[in-house]
Symmetry: C2
Subunit: 200 residues, 2 copies
Amino acid sequence: MPQLLDFYFDFSSPYGYLASEKIDALAERHGRQVRWRPILLGVVFKQTGAAPLTLVPLKGEYSLHDFARSARFLDVPYAHPANFPLATQHAARACYWLHDQDGETARAFAHSVFRALYVEGRDVSDLDVVLDLAAGHGADRATLAKALAGPALKERLKAEVDSALAKGVFGSPYVVVDGEPFFGVDRLPQLERWLACGGF
Amino acid sequence: MPQLLDFYFDFSSPYGYLASEKIDALAERHGRQVRWRPILLGVVFKQTGAAPLTLVPLKGEYSLHDFARSARFLDVPYAHPANFPLATQHAARACYWLHDQDGETARAFAHSVFRALYVEGRDVSDLDVVLDLAAGHGADRATLAKALAGPALKERLKAEVDSALAKGVFGSPYVVVDGEPFFGVDRLPQLERWLACGGF
């Protein structure tokens, strides 16, 4: 069985959102499946010294323009959130919690979080919003709320972020397939050729 | 007459080199011409706080891998230079000096500098190498050497970099067409659609 694609992203990453709308179909075209792995860029940036794109002088202004244009280029709906960048640890932890029960539900939840943020303008840093979105996919609100308040799920996300860092993940989106890394939604064409040709 | 594309780049930028091998043909497909405008990323980075890609933790290692893979993807020869990043002010100044006499010669010289660095592994930070390359395009070595040593050409490059910064240029390659900015060789597909459709 071919290896899974590891798709690393932060829910607060616009380019991560754009990739999230493309990655499954891309993988399926080449008989692959995707493992969705939310991370926290805030933790990653402490290692690399990077800053959120929109806060970088000159580049920040361009980025806001490029998020929207790239979305149009990829035919994905996009409205830049008023609250940005935002904390995504609740959503990321809920995603792993759901994943441990059912991968498909976790994926559907992740899509819901991204679309709530980048299409509907909802504040997905809010615990209640995260619980509502998870409940929409059948999760028990009280059980998830309890898990999100406990140490195990916090440790789980920390371990996932540490593992990503150890693999060299420095941004979002970041895809690893058969050991080959691809950073950025603009690397999806290279990823596609890689899958089609078994490398190039 | 349609407006020129302004193509900003630093000779020390691998992605700038990759774009340099594509930009003229892309523009010509849409009836446009390109004005090549070398800049100094070192000056730009002082404004933005950015660092040379290869010196950023994690991202640096990935970048070296991505330069070579992106070159294969774009079917452009590439060998990462031993001396990197490197100072490019002599080459940039020589390019503007040539440009003031003949735009076509400046473009041919710029191609020679990029290929000397990224194909032949020559140290284009060396004044003698720059003079040799310019002489290969018919420039008078002694006259150019004198111009490179004088204040006017230094001021000229400084003014060009300041002008680029004032337009929001924060990296290489960076293309501006009809006021629309495109950063990165991976934005050439968006640039192409923009030219084909008059925006999107």
